[in-house]
């Protein structure tokens, strides 16, 4: 009787617990690790809250799992061996690594398992999560934070043998495989659930909103022409206000003296800097003024409103019209709030923008 696989939609994977025949402590480890796992796939911003929870859980878990590691078989992520193998990986990743218990192993098979563990762990399957990580490293996360989960290759050369090792295990290879598969499925689905692809490419998540939404390159297998075309079509039909189409949030960008309007999809960006560079390329002669560092705003607001662009004296500034119809300076509010309220963007001369800042501050205070 194979253990029931968790409902694939469920996040958190409570039924990790059911697959482990061993101890209660194992169960609790698993639960923690399930939660851990959830977090790990979130955008690893400088939200220290995430870091600290992971750290504490890691230390607690590593104590409990000292013996249990030996009995754990992991079809894991690349780089998912014990930390000493990949010293450059940060604690976050190692914490994540430890928590993939897969096999309900009988104590008698412990011997097998400790030997096999490492080989298996090095990534028999490049699961969905691997794929997403691997891809996100190169493509979707210019921010280096999620790199910790990746370093796709050094560890994985053992992957070859892992398949055969699996077969050697235990008296019920087929059942074990089935269980392993289910568990891998579970892992992959966790990854999939947590990293459920965002409608739009960029996968960073500064504000700690649920799930790094990375897209796996090459999946789903739809021609980019078709993908882009659907996005354009829905943009046209959902028109002016930047109403959300299937995952797109287009707003018009106008610039004084420019002969045409452009439209940008705000969902393609996760922070002001990205928007700034994109618009820069588009209009190539403006920069976002530096209005970010308001000391009174909260910590996370500060980090988001820090714009890379340091040209204080730039000729142009980026402003936006919000839901109330007021024109505000871009960069004053948290990114999430910004894309919620922004209806239209406008690039105007700094001289025209005088007087916008105080209003922005006031509004922020009111919101907070």
């Amino acid at each position: 009787m194979s253990p029931p696989l968790l409902d694939v939609e469920e996040e958190g994977g409570q039924s990790n617990v059911t697959l482990l025949a061993s101890s209660g402590s194992m169960d609790s480890v698993c639960q923690n690790s399930a939660e851990l796992k959830e977090r790990n796939y979130m955008g690893l911003s400088d939200c220290s809250s995430v870091d600290s929870s992971v750290v504490s859980a890691a230390s607690e878990e590593s104590k409990a799992s000292l013996n249990l590691k030996a009995t754990e078989l992991r079809l894991g992520l690349p780089g998912s061996q014990s930390p000493e193998r990949n010293p450059e990986l940060c604690l976050l990743s190692s914490a994540q690594l430890d928590e993939k218990p897969l096999f309900p192993l009988h104590p008698s098979s412990d011997g097998h398992c400790s030997i096999t563990q490492k080989t298996i762990v090095s990534g028999n399957k490049r699961g969905f999560s691997d794929a997403m990580d691997g891809f996100s490293e190169g493509k979707f996360l210019p921010n280096s934070k999620v790199d910790v989960m990746l370093s796709p290759r050094p560890s994985s050369n053992l992957g070859l043998t892992s398949g055969s090792v699996l077969e050697n295990l235990g008296a019920q290879p087929t059942k074990a495989k089935e269980i392993a598969n289910q568990k891998v499925v579970q892992d992959r689905l966790h990854a999939a659930n947590e990293t459920r692809p965002n409608p739009n490419a960029s996968a960073n998540n500064n504000s700690g909103a649920p799930a790094t939404k990375a897209q796996v390159v090459g999946w789903p297998p739809i021609r980019s022409f078709r993908k882009n075309s659907l996005a354009t079509t829905s943009k046209n039909t959902d028109e002016v206000d930047g109403k959300t189409g299937p995952g797109a949030l287009f707003v018009k960008v106008s610039m004084n003296g420019a002969p045409y309007l452009r439209k940008v999809d705000l969902k393609n960006y996760s922070k002001y800097q990205e928007l700034s560079s994109a618009l820069e390329k588009m209009f190539s002669c403006f920069t976002i003024g530096q209005y970010g560092s308001h000391g009174t705003l909260g910590r996370e607001l500060l980090s988001e409103s820090k714009l890379k662009d340091l040209l204080h004296g730039s000729e142009y500034v980026l402003t936006y019209e919000d839901k109330d119809g007021d024109w505000m300076l871009v960069g004053d509010v948290p990114w999430e709030m910004f894309i919620d309220t922004c209806k239209r963007l406008r690039i105007m001369k700094s001289s025209d923008a005088i007087g916008l800042a105080p209003r922005a501050m006031e509004k922020c205070r009111n919101r907070n």
Partner: protein
């Protein structure tokens, strides 16, 4: 074999048109080879790097029509970096220098430049037909050259290309003397064209059978065009938005009713559902309907339309039609042979869309179904087994479960049994794409039963090297194998290196093959080109043989390593 004079043999060979048959004929004996080669007019080259233009020209001096494919299939899904290759210029240059009277050029996934379009347009007096599918690298200036210089142009067919658009002027470059157009498809262009020029062009093209407009062509222009060309067989609308109570719309209704020959309908990139009623009169004649670019038609609109299309043989739609909508298709379109259901929201949360239920309904209602592309949220083994029983005639079966490793939601089992049933039942299956949770078992089935399989696409599937080995050993007719994110490694890759000479190409990305494995393969098989495609960060790692290879593309070739490979491609 010399019972007949050459002329008689040549006459007989003229009736042999399929490329495969022609190839077979040429292998019989030297004299047949010679006769065949002089009389061959159409050549298909599935991998532009497998042969050189010079050798093509030397062998087939009577060449009139050339089809070339460039980048590997997975380039469609952004897995191949730009500038990888697939340049058509060397081909056009070589052909231009020769005495070949090229009349038709069909390109897929190739890089085409404006210069070579211009060269093409000026080098071949009788050039008639240009078909570009999924190509890139050219602008509307290149199109202008084609329009202006190809005096006898019959066909300009642009499908899903990435075109840099400088202006819409290109369409105005067709000279007044050009009256030979049979097919014009510029639906993939985004920019505006001169509507007056378009109307005049259509008016002076009495042979025009196929016209596919882009989204900037408004409905009232469509009406005028249809008045000029009631003989159209294939129509792609532009913007299909208007006030249904207006004069223009009434005119459109009457214009459409005169178009009794339309069998194929597409477009609707912008659409107002209230205008669809004008289409109903031609629906009973339609054999091909493509609504896959029309997300503006939601709810029951597509279904309402399809209910009038009893003769439909090919249907391309979006998944917002839902399972119920597919049920309507199943009960209406008894002649259906090809169905493609595309996702309207590929990265969305997964509401609506279609499931296995829709597919089962289709299979029950449309026994002639032989080609399927189906993007869905989930699939069950039971459904696939039912489909296999209902439709044993599949030639192409491509199933894409959007969550790539999803098991059967009813049983939580992998989908091995379901796909196994498909390959066992569909003895003529030539193309298969798998998805969902799959183990080595499905590959065992494929190797055992898929005897006619020519192309297999796999992602996130399998457990061990055995999976890939089952396929390589079992599928004797395999030509193209493309694998992403599977645990197949060197053992599978190297077991039977001779196999790859019988295939066109093999793509493996994010698998377990190492650089060492690829090097071994390249050493053993000099007739293969083994390409390693690097992402830029990996360049430093490239010297370690134990390093896993991110992307490997290998293909058989008669002309050695290509000289135009960019920096990030390493040919072993």
């Amino acid at each position: 074999m010399n019972y007949f004079p050459d002329e008689v043999l040549e006459y007989v060979f003229n009736f042999i048109t399929s490329h495969n048959d022609r190839n077979s004929v040429s292998l019989v004996c030297k004299s047949w080879y010679k006769i065949e080669r002089y009389s061959r007019q159409r050549v298909f080259i599935g991998n532009c790097y497998s042969i050189s233009p010079e050798r093509l020209i030397a062998r087939f001096p009577g060449l009139k029509s050339l089809t070339l494919k460039g980048k590997p299939h997975f380039a469609d899904f952004n897995l191949v970096p730009n500038d990888w290759g697939g340049f058509v210029c060397p081909w056009i240059q070589a052909l231009a220098k020769s005495r070949i009277g090229l009349e038709e050029l069909r390109l897929k996934r190739m890089v085409v430049s404006d210069d070579c379009l211009e060269l093409l347009s000026k080098s071949f007096l009788n050039f008639k037909s240009l078909v570009l599918v999924s190509c890139e690298g050219f602008t509307t200036d290149g199109l202008a050259a084609i329009a202006a210089n190809c005096r006898f142009l019959r066909e300009l067919d642009l499908q899903e290309n990435e075109v840099e658009e400088h202006s819409g002027h290109w369409l105005s470059c067709f000279p007044e003397s050009c009256t030979s157009l049979v097919s014009l498809n510029f639906a993939c262009l985004k920019g505006e064209i001169n509507l007056g020029a378009l109307e005049r062009l259509v008016a002076r093209s009495p042979n025009l059978k196929s016209l596919r407009l882009n989204r900037t062509v408004p409905l009232d222009t469509l009406q005028k065009l249809l008045m000029r060309a009631p003989q159209l067989v294939d129509l792609g609308t532009g913007s299909y938005v208007h006030d249904p109570s207006s004069e223009a719309f009434n005119k459109l209704e009457s214009a459409i009713q005169r178009c009794k020959s339309i069998r194929s309908l597409s477009g609707f990139l912008e659409v107002a559902p209230c205008c669809m009623s004008a289409i109903y009169p031609i629906c009973p004649n339609l054999t091909f309907l493509n609504l896959s670019y029309a997300p503006g038609l939601h709810g029951i609109e597509p279904t309402k339309l399809i209910q009038h299309c009893r003769k439909l043989q090919r249907l391309w739609i979006l998944d917002c039609i839902g399972d119920k909508g597919l049920g309507v298709v199943a009960s209406t379109c008894k002649e259906l042979q090809e169905l493609r259901v595309f996702p309207s929201d590929p990265f969305g949360a997964g509401n609506a869309a279609v499931t296995e239920e829709g597919l089962v309904l289709i299979s029950a209602g449309c026994p002639k179904l032989n080609s399927l592309l189906y993007f869905c949220q989930q699939m069950t083994n039971a459904a696939l087994i039912t489909v296999a029983k209902n439709c044993p005639n599949f030639i192409r079966f491509r199933l894409c479960i959007l969550d790539p490793i999803k098991p059967d939601p009813l049983t939580n089992q992998p989908l091995d049994e379901g796909f196994g049933a498909i390959v066992q039942s569909c003895k003529g299956l030539k193309r298969l794409s798998l998805s969902g949770l799959l183990t080595d078992q499905v590959f065992l089935y494929i190797g055992m039963y898929a005897e006619q399989l020519e192309m297999l696409s796999i992602a996130f599937a399998g457990d061990t090297d055995k999976g890939m080995l089952h396929v390589l050993n079992g599928c004797k007719k395999l030509r193209k194998l493309e694998i992403m994110d599977c645990p197949f490694g060197n053992i599978a890759l190297l077991e039977d290196v001779g196999k790859y000479e019988t295939m066109r190409s093999l793509w493996m990305s994010s698998c377990e093959v190492t650089l060492g494995g690829c090097k071994t393969l390249a050493e053993k098989m000099p007739s293969l080109s083994v390409e390693i495609i690097y992402e830029s960060e990996q360049m430093e790692f490239c010297l370690d043989d134990r390093q896993k290879v991110e992307k490997m593309y290998l293909y058989r070739t008669l002309v050695g390593h290509r000289k135009d490979a960019p920096e990030f491609v390493w040919i072993l």
